[in-house]
């Protein structure tokens, strides 16, 4: 019993219960299977459940989760950067006013309410990112990748899983997939380039009725469709259709080598 108490006392993080300076970068790494939850709140002090060992090197606070630890919850002040890397399990991060990175081998990632850049990876699992103000760089392989209510440039890649971009406001969007579908309900926030490309799947884009754009739809003959009034269309060769609304605006490059491309107004 005494040994357990001594071990528990030595495992406590010295920064627990203290303020973290805004420049702090919290890094959590877990080798085993875990659910890692990071919750940011203004004025919150660091609290780790269960108590874990940590080390502060410069402005980087490192927490290594021992193998066998199931659930880890970190309550942190919102004004820090967060990085979570686990081999398997789920990552949930919310309420951070700083950059966030989440990388899981097999498991799901859920990130919400972040004012900062977000980088997310899941080899075998879903990525759900919502209410993000900042650049998004997300990659999945065979599962759903969903971005909701984001404001900032977006780069998403998904080999065979569906990519959903909902209520995204961005100047620049780069969405790619090989065999699946990209569905975008997006609005531009300034001149930029939206490039959405699939090899065998479909690209479906819905924009606001007042949005001005120049869109090039590249798909096999009769596999592209434009469902919006008051636009000019010009066909180039067998595959390409250029659609223009207004003067200038967002440049869209929507391509499917052997699937379909669809452009319509938001309803």
């Amino acid at each position: 019993m005494i040994a357990l108490l001594v071990a528990a006392a030595s495992a406590a993080c010295p920064q627990s219960g203290k303020d973290l300076p805004p420049s702090t970068r919290l890094e959590i790494a877990a080798l085993g299977g875990s659910l890692v939850t990071v919750r940011g709140a203004a004025g919150a002090k660091l609290a780790l459940k269960p108590e874990l060992d940590c080390s502060m090197v410069g402005n980087v606070l490192r927490v290594v989760v021992p193998d066998g630890t199931r659930d880890v919850t970190a309550d942190v002040p919102s004004a820090i950067a967060v990085s979570v890397t686990i081999k398997r399990g789920n990552i949930e991060i919310s309420g951070i006013n700083g950059n966030v990175m989440a990388d899981v081998g097999a498991g799901d990632v859920q990130i919400s309410h972040v004012n900062g850049d977000v980088t997310a990876r899941s080899a075998v699992g879903t990525l759900h990112l919502s209410d993000i103000t900042g650049r998004i760089d997300a990659a999945a392989q065979n599962n759903e990748l969903r971005v909701t209510r984001a404001r900032g440039d977006v780069r998403v890649s998904n080999v065979s899983g569906t990519t959903l971009l909902e209520a995204v406001q961005a100047s620049n969007i780069m969405a790619t997939t090989v065999t699946s579908e990209i569905v975008c309900t997006c609005s531009p926030v300034g001149p930029g380039i939206w490039e959405m490309r699939t090899h065998t799947g479909a690209v479906r884009v819905a924009v606001g009725r007042n949005v001005e754009f120049v869109a090039t739809l590249d798909a096999p003959p009769n596999a592209s469709r434009v469902d919006m009034p008051g636009v000019s269309q010009q066909t180039e060769g067998k595959r390409k259709v250029t659609v223009v609304r207004g003067e200038g605006g967002t440049r869209m490059l929507l391509s499917s080598f052997s699937g379909g491309v669809f452009l319509q107004d938001q309803r």
């Binding site: 299977g33 080899a123 075998v124 990659a139 090899h199």
Partner: protein, 129 residues
């Protein structure tokens, strides 16, 4: 029984022997006073030791099986999915090569797939198990 043993049994029973005394109590009295006491404690200890060893073996096997079942699939699944993704891209590239790569649109698609392949390897580097 020998005379010596009979004497020791009689001494052990003492004057309290009656027909109403339960056989178990009689036997316990005999056992307490004679060397004929069955080695029950020794046997119990031996059984207990064997049982503990068997239980420890079962627990060890259980832990081993559980760790194998919990830990192995995740890295394995990641590798399998990544390899499957790469193979699907390679298959698409091979199919395009059968077409005419001199066609600009086909060449552009091959470049796109090659970029996707490189991006996949960059985003999901093979990790050590």
């Amino acid at each position: 029984m020998s005379d010596e043993l009979t004497r020791r049994v009689r001494d052990a029973l003492g004057p309290g022997r009656t027909s109403q005394t339960p056989p178990e109590e009689l036997w316990s009295r005999i056992a307490a006073g004679t060397s004929l006491l069955p080695r029950r404690r020794f046997l119990d200890l031996r059984f207990a030791t064997t049982g503990l060893a068997a239980a420890a073996l079962l627990v060890a096997v259980g832990i081993f099986v559980r760790r194998r079942s919990v830990e192995s699939p995740a890295p394995h699944a990641v590798q399998v999915v990544t390899i499957a993704s790469l193979e699907s891209i390679d298959a698409a590239l091979s199919a395009l090569r059968r077409d005419s790569a001199s066609v600009p649109r086909v060449a552009d698609e091959m470049l796109f797939l090659a970029r996707m392949r490189a991006s996949l390897q960059s985003d999901f580097p093979q990790r050590s198990p």
